[in-house]
Symmetry: none
Subunit: 406 residues, 2 copies
Amino acid sequence: MDRGTFLKELAVETESKILLVVLDGLGGLPGEAGKTELEAAWTPNMDELAARSVLGLTHPISYGITPGSGPSHLALFGYDPLKYEIGRGVLENLGLDVELRKGDVAVRGNFCTVEERDGRLVVVDRRAGRIPTEKNRELCSRLQEAMSEIQGVEVLFTPGMEHRFALRLRGEGLAGCLEDTDPQHEGFEPLLLRATCPQGDKTVAVVEELLGRVRDVLKGEERANFVLLRGFSEVPHIPSMYELFKLRAAAIATYPMYRGLARLVGMDLLPVDGMRLEHELETLRRYWKDYTFFYFHVKKTDSYGEDGNFWAKVKVIEEFDRLLPKIMALDPQVLVITGDHSTPSKLKSHSWHPNPFLLYSPYVRWESGQVFSEKACARGALGQFPAMEALPLMLAHALKLKKFGA
Amino acid sequence: MDRGTFLKELAVETESKILLVVLDGLGGLPGEAGKTELEAAWTPNMDELAARSVLGLTHPISYGITPGSGPSHLALFGYDPLKYEIGRGVLENLGLDVELRKGDVAVRGNFCTVEERDGRLVVVDRRAGRIPTEKNRELCSRLQEAMSEIQGVEVLFTPGMEHRFALRLRGEGLAGCLEDTDPQHEGFEPLLLRATCPQGDKTVAVVEELLGRVRDVLKGEERANFVLLRGFSEVPHIPSMYELFKLRAAAIATYPMYRGLARLVGMDLLPVDGMRLEHELETLRRYWKDYTFFYFHVKKTDSYGEDGNFWAKVKVIEEFDRLLPKIMALDPQVLVITGDHSTPSKLKSHSWHPNPFLLYSPYVRWESGQVFSEKACARGALGQFPAMEALPLMLAHALKLKKFGA
């Protein structure tokens, strides 16, 4: 019996409520005064809660592996991140709030600069000198106007930051098995479009025509006179959290990529009237009666980690801590506070270090006299475990899993 | 996606240096004064390092399993020891410094005493009274002289200790799928040669002729008048550490078997001008610039453990500790100190107890106020994990792994 089937057969629908708080990139490394961001933060509410909770550390993928946000979130939602791979093109579109359906082909694009040399088209700048986002928007709308449809396939260009954009193809008989056209180095020709599966032929024909028409539209541009395409992919078929776990799940997240990931696993996306934590809390309160699982995403811990801004990350953690009593007032049966991956300011990037994990429920074996910190979690009663086991733990503590076997 | 492919796609080549120190059989059991060998040893340098490192315990194979040196080393080198099995014949040949190539068949042999009874050849002593090694050498060279080639297959006998020898067959169309001829009990005939795969027929014919000729050569011997063959095997195809992990790897080891294992995973074998630890250190210094991964093997901890000599094992650990500052002076980006398996003097053999594991790098979450001991490792922030995960952890801390997914 595989793990999916197994949990599916044990899960029962009940009214108890699970709240999963993801402080994105929460885990850190010792910086100022030998403390991590979480240790340096003044968090009386989380510390008090830690003493009535159980602690541990989670590995998003496996030892030493630094995950992107896609796989690390899938793991927290209870899915095996090695089984359900999310392509770069899909993630880029989700991140720009583009709706994706089964069968769509999603692509990541760069504007680039090309030059004719001896009759060959050579890439001289893979990022078109990082054109301003403003310019990018203008070019994408010109491209969109010139080609909303090719060979019966609907085409959607969505501008991102600087030279980046997302491309979505929607139509019958498409496939995501195309190789990148980006040669990865300047001085080379864009790579020929090539499908790695037989179903890819139609997509190759569509994208070839698209590239020809893009070249015509951009020919007069000084810098952004062509595009490179990468990460062709399709939305993977992911069974919903309701199908697998009988959870009526909702997402409270303000950044598009996380909303997109939540939609992929069948969560409802709840409206948030602003970008601050209080706005997210307001949404949580408003919809508290309507769902049995809430994913509550706090983005800025990761953003400041990526910036290498230790104290700004500390402040976001403290800001969340001040909100905690209001969350507890809702009386969740299970509350988890964790990260999707670590983002130590010291590394200015995601890292492989396991995530601090706190699970509160009336049915935990309490930690005594603990605080919520990486060190306390490393010695916590849950030990270290794969992040994809967090969801079964939440279900169990919410009394939503039947006994296995008799 | 399987683990091998997965790491291969994430590994990048950089100049940062990883040093893996294997104190063979390091882990112990409480003996004198209730302390293990590692706890009884005076190790100020390792203790000081432990406070700036992260600790844990590794399981070479899985809970309760006592490994041989082959699988336990493969695991430390990042290979799944259940996937890459190394036959006894291969290990015996490697241990005697015999070079093995793809396609060779390697066998482990015993001299034995046989007697004719009612026309049957019966084994009366499976070890030929443990003949002296001197005698073994003489017999092997007589056998070698009598048969350097059989049916176009090159034959190589290499004497081991007492009654043990290694046999290597090299030629076209051989296969290692032959069953042992050792009946395992005295009073029985040697077992008939039998192949368990169709490709084994030629090898059966060659070994049958070989056994006949061996019997002729040894007929006049009083004790060692025949041989029993075991552990027919071929070198497994193991991708190199460069292929899988982009590591330019070198081994500093003085005992043949460990050099052989290192060669199997594609390490360069560095010359060591003597059998003492200072000689190994001298080699490390001399080649420090030329590689990105060093395997530094200390054998005597295991040897004294096997002898049941608690204090001699303690002294080897202390000897290594005195060397540590000179190793740290080379400024490795990642240093691991661990064992391949435990060899408690109390058991006089390898054991299943997990290995103390210390990882130093600028990117660890520090342990505070720890020493390097089994107890400290059991409470270490790395927890308990499979030994094969040690290599991904080393790669991560040396910043040699890309992010998985976006």
